[in-house]
Amino acid sequence: MSQLQVRFFTENAKYKVDDVPFSIPAASQVQDLSNIINKLLEAKHTGHSNVEFDFLVRGNFLRTSLVNHMEAEGISTEEVVEIEYVQRFMAPQPEECIMHDDWISSVDTESEWILTGSYDKTARIWTQEGKAVMTVAGHTDVVKDVAWVKRDGVTSLLLTSSMDQTAILWEWNVERNKLKARHCCRGHAGSVDSIAVSPNQTKFCSGSWDKMLKIWSAVPTDKEDELEEQRDRPRKKQKTEQMGLTRTPIMTLSGHIEAVSSVLWSDNEEVCSASWDHTIRLWDVETGNMKSTLTGSKVFNCISYSPLCRRLASGSTDRHVRLWDPRSKDGSLVLLSLTSHTGWVTAVRWSPSNEQQLISGSLDCVVKLWDTRSCKAPLYDMAAHEDKVLCVDWREDGVRAQHANRLANFVYINLSILLKETFSVQFPYALWTILDCG
């Protein structure tokens, strides 16, 4: 078997070639195929500049020689092979490094600002360039999770949750650069490890070590909710004054038998939570009932949901990233396992615009970029961190985020925020650039 009949096609009109079968060497690698396409394009358009391509055979990325790939996938070599080609993602480059003086527990990006929570009991707001704008101080313990709620004009709402069993809703005036704690959300009996804001930005959900999920209103008001226990402790009063009005949860969802590690909203009515009891549970927020349970075999550290491909990605302590279909009736259906990490997977995040890409961060200090079409190995390893990775996030380029068009060029910046030891004072978190010219 020395020659194979192939036919190339692409969805990108710019790089279309004639739809005729070619006979190419069976041992061709990706680079050989890419050269062939470039040759064809040069012959078609004069002035074509060289472009690197990646090739998909029946929806899977070609990574070895063509004949090996087809053997592994069980594709017949007798027929004409349909090969799709797309422009290759360029290797992400470290773009920027933002120094922090303690471990970073969480990160959330917005079109202009980056919000980070840290183990020094504060959260910080940074510009995209890495300039510290604001320090959010007020928690009495480690800030475990942060989230943007919304922006109207110059005021932004943001949320921080902490090990001191509270979550605080802050109002930040960008122009005056003033921060005000609007509400202190009390009710949890353990550290609040995870918060998530609903897509319509009126509610948020928090998951805690006390095994509970609580739904809160994210709309700031001037009314204070009554808390059951009132203690006349001077220390506590001071804290209450600092942290704004007390707020109590709208609803408590109980069902997990171990700590809740991660929550998210899959739509306005549905909350998804991952827990140390080896389950991912889906909850109906309207009724407060549990809708379904996905059971794994190890502790889940993090989950992420992509509305584009409607899949859940989970990272667990057995070093795998697993993809789930939350709508499947069969609760324990794993669609795909992505195996490459050597430590606990502490963070996964789907790409907000590409339905096939996700990144994962792990305690083995590596951030990996995955494409679900090549599940055997990650697309790229990003190994600039020197310590454990606790959280990752994507950022869309603010200027071009509006045109969600395939033809437009996006610049994604991947923020992976690292952890560091207490004694090493300065440690960077890195901004990565991924050029997607597809």
Binding site: V142, S191, S297, N301, W344, E421, T422
Partner: protein, 695 residues
Amino acid sequence: MIVEASSPTIRQHGSSRVMVPGMEHLLRPARHFLSDGSFSVQYPVGYTVFSPRLTLPLSRVMNSQACAFRLSTFHLYFLKSLSEDIRNTVGNVPMEWYQDYPHIGYDLEGKKIFKPIRNKDELDEFLDKMENPDYWRTVHDKMTSTDIRLTDEQISLVHRLQSGQFGDVNFNEYEPYIDFFSGETMIHPVTNRPQDKRSFIPSLIEKEKVSKMVHAIKMGWIKPRKPKESDLQFYDLWAKEDPNAILGRHKMHVPAPKMKLPGHEESYNPPPEYLLTEEERLAWEQQDPEDRKLSFLPQKFSCLRSVPAYSRFIHERFERCLDLYLCPRQRKMRVNVDPEDLIPKLPKPRDLQPFPTIQSLIYRGHSSLVRCISLSPSGQWLASGSDDCTVRLWEVSTGRCMKTVEVGGAVRSIVWNPNPAICLVAVLVLLNPYLADKLVYNATDQLIASYVEPEEERPQPVQWQVPEIEDSDKGFRLIITHPKSVKQVTWHSKGDYLASVLSDNSNMQVLIHQVSKRRSQNPFRKNKGLVQCVSFHPIRPYFFVASQRCVRVYNLIKQELMKKLMANCKWISSMAIHPGGDNVICGSYDSRLSWFDLDLSTKPYKVLRHHKKALRGVAFHKNYPLFASGSDDGSVIVCHGMVYNDLLQNPLIVPVKVLKGHTLTHNLGVLDVAFHPTQPWVFSSGADATIRLFT
């Protein structure tokens, strides 16, 4: 043959008899006459007279005393020849023919034998009969016409003949009978008689009989004979015998080992390369005869004739005899067991998931060896005590050190209060780590603060102190000052009682403290050896005290010794109680781990010697059937230890994983092991100042 002499019509020549036709009736009266007794002999009374032919019935008995009888000529001739040699050569002709002649015949010389002069008349005859005593034995010979007096022998012969006996005295009439003519067909028949004609002609009667039988067979009246069942008659007596039985027949054939065929070196004229060189010969001679590769030295001779006699012949014969004498008569029953089968069947470790398999996190921060670790009941926090005089509290999920508390000395033991409602860590002091629900730790503080001094002061073995304000801010809540250094502390599962072990040789080695009443007591009056560690039973009011060699189990309510577990090792280092309470594991410095089943025996149910060096810490998991042991060789061995509710089923102990990660420092490896309360994770603290999490 007897012929009536007076009958003229019968002529006899030899053995043939000629009957004159029409004269049969004449013979009949002769017979008749004969039967009437004309051949009568005069006998004395009582003698019976038989006819000479022996055919006459015995009823013909003549009773008359004088009765004349006449013998046949044959008899007369026979009698005459016995007495005198007067031969009449005329033959057997009727003597009537010579009635009219003076002679009666001719003698041997041809001379006429003249009739004796008979002038006896009837009267003379009668007188003779009356007077002559020998008259009865006198017979008249017709051939010579003389009277012959019969001798005694002749008389006895006549008597024998008459009585039906054989004439010859010496004849045995009862000789064995030989039946020459039998019914059996002989191969060589005695007679040469040709076969009868009837033997060639098919017999009509037989044909009829056969056709009847054929008809009967056709009609099914006659059934063929059943074949004889000969199979059951004989059977192999030893067919079912076990050939392997000791007393069974020796059936096993042991083939003789095949001899190696002779090679070139055995030849009398081997090729030169087979001959040993001088060094080889020396080496051969110095070797032990059993180690020699060749049992002889190859030698070269010019011709077969010059080969000497075999010198070891007698020796070898003797050895052969010895071999035969000493060879086992019974084949040795070799135990044909695969050694793999002797190993008890244990489930495979991969079937016993989950258990920790890989190192996941390292908790760095201590600057000296970490002696002890303990997990919070929720599993969120980890407390560790070290020789750098600090207690550190860690977040389990990230490895972040959340708090460092300076205590005044090296921390030998640290235990988190098992009651989730009380947030206290027992070191030498009671510490509130501030790492829990605020309500809980405020409640804990209130609980400690709510202590009221009792009215009467009771003597206390130790001193309870409320710490200063600055210490209280660090987290100290109560300080129990012991007179000696404390080796170990442990909590009761309710969280109010706390036991401590002092390194002391007196009777005050173990103290039990009650936190809520701030009271201490010394439960033991006598010193029963150096106490290594103590533990409370998780459910019942029992108290385990491990001394160097044994573990004593006390009932705290009855205040008596219940059991004494002999650990079978030299120096116990650590002890852990199964959460069910019926099983105890003990680690010892002589690198053994003993598992006791309290219901089973006071001896160890199993002793595991997996570690190469001294064990420092053992631990049971609260929920999963796991236990772990840490050793000076730097490894943690995780075992599956399933305890069944069924009392008849022994615990299943399977070593599942050896976890390595700690580096050896000062010849010390792992110092303590602890399980996560909810996950199958094991923590180990080591002399390399790290704590490692294996998941």
